[in-house]
Symmetry: D2
Subunit: 138 residues, 4 copies
Amino acid sequence: MSYRYHHPFPTRWNDNDQYGHMNNAVFYEAMDTAVNVWMGRHGLDPQGGTFAFCVTSGCTFHASASFPDELSVGVGVERLGTTSITWSLGILREDGTDQVATGTFVHVFVDAVTRRPVPVPERIRAAVRAELMEDGQR
Amino acid sequence: MSYRYHHPFPTRWNDNDQYGHMNNAVFYEAMDTAVNVWMGRHGLDPQGGTFAFCVTSGCTFHASASFPDELSVGVGVERLGTTSITWSLGILREDGTDQVATGTFVHVFVDAVTRRPVPVPERIRAAVRAELMEDGQR
Amino acid sequence: MSYRYHHPFPTRWNDNDQYGHMNNAVFYEAMDTAVNVWMGRHGLDPQGGTFAFCVTSGCTFHASASFPDELSVGVGVERLGTTSITWSLGILREDGTDQVATGTFVHVFVDAVTRRPVPVPERIRAAVRAELMEDGQR
Amino acid sequence: MSYRYHHPFPTRWNDNDQYGHMNNAVFYEAMDTAVNVWMGRHGLDPQGGTFAFCVTSGCTFHASASFPDELSVGVGVERLGTTSITWSLGILREDGTDQVATGTFVHVFVDAVTRRPVPVPERIRAAVRAELMEDGQR
């Protein structure tokens, strides 16, 4: 998969576990960060009335990464639902060619108070269509 | 699923993210910790000649948890392969009844130097069969 | 120093950094967690009207600790101020005898909305005096 | 203090704790990362024969920071000892003007096997003098 948005993810000293590799949980931090930065830039305010809760995530690790690698996260959308987005994500080497890991996040949008599902905010929906989805995707 | 081993997982102040919930990446820390403590008690030395690398993981979140919850991780085995173990994991409330999340980890065992796959260590294999698998599972 | 409250702190797989030791930042997670659990049990609601902000912290490391060590945090109070508490903390081995690290946290209590300092909540003040301070301390 | 080296430190979604601020322990991750990247670029190999162990650290927080802030760490040296370096560090806003926090790390250099103190490696010593210390400092 090619990604239309890439988010830089420099590693931290303590990302490496005792095997000397970036720990697997840190890949989820990377993916969550990339998606949340992107959503924030398109109008989702984490202090606002709509939260994006992760309901499922997964990752397959193809190669190892280590501090002080400068990685990036490729952000795509697999499915744009009524109240949810399924993100398709890649952890890439700095030059963007080598795929270290491939992951998925499903975010459900909920009302910050009632915590009940609400429609994907219109600005996010429009931006996903315009900036992340490929022609022919829906 | 019922689990034959439960590992306590008390939450930390900084496990909560700004939504006031335990962050999704922390669930992976919990599952990895539970499996590694169990393997350590059954003879896997992380400084030794065999490493257990995570090649795939995934988690589905059914409910939220928050600091200062005292959680536990239920550890089961879905598949005992030649060079890999597929763990079936649950994040549970302290009393063990309520399932907060359900996850999977696949560990491949590798030689610490060559990083090539090696058979699941015999002591781990025997302990998985004796202590984690159900009758009829294989 | 002897501590009148001890909080258990089991280590996690990813607490170890690539030197094979619990990373120094994790000691701060431990101290913050112990203090916040203690304050929570004595009526400080993190969703409530008063926040406890850390304004200074420090730690001296006497020995190393590693996953899967079961550590504990000794909690004492060095100074009970008008709007702040200076905590005196120790990271101890499970049996409580060996001091792995010694640390300090200064929390200033602030109004959750204005973020301006407010007096230490009366319940916390009374509990600090009754349960954490030694005779002759003030 | 002005710093002669600045290391970028973009925040992550899960750096914010439930107060909606970057958690205090993350400031230590930032400082440790900046120093270790700098040392790595000047020849300290974390897989090599000399480790840099943190023996003391401390931080004073002047203002809050929050995801998705892009911070940077200013790196200076307060004291270059025989077997240790005392780093003087600042957590700064992206534009470098505003000091969010001020910290200190003392690293002692040890033999990776015996874990006994050894002299600061000559390349690190020379680079500290050339690139981080001010005229008149020693």
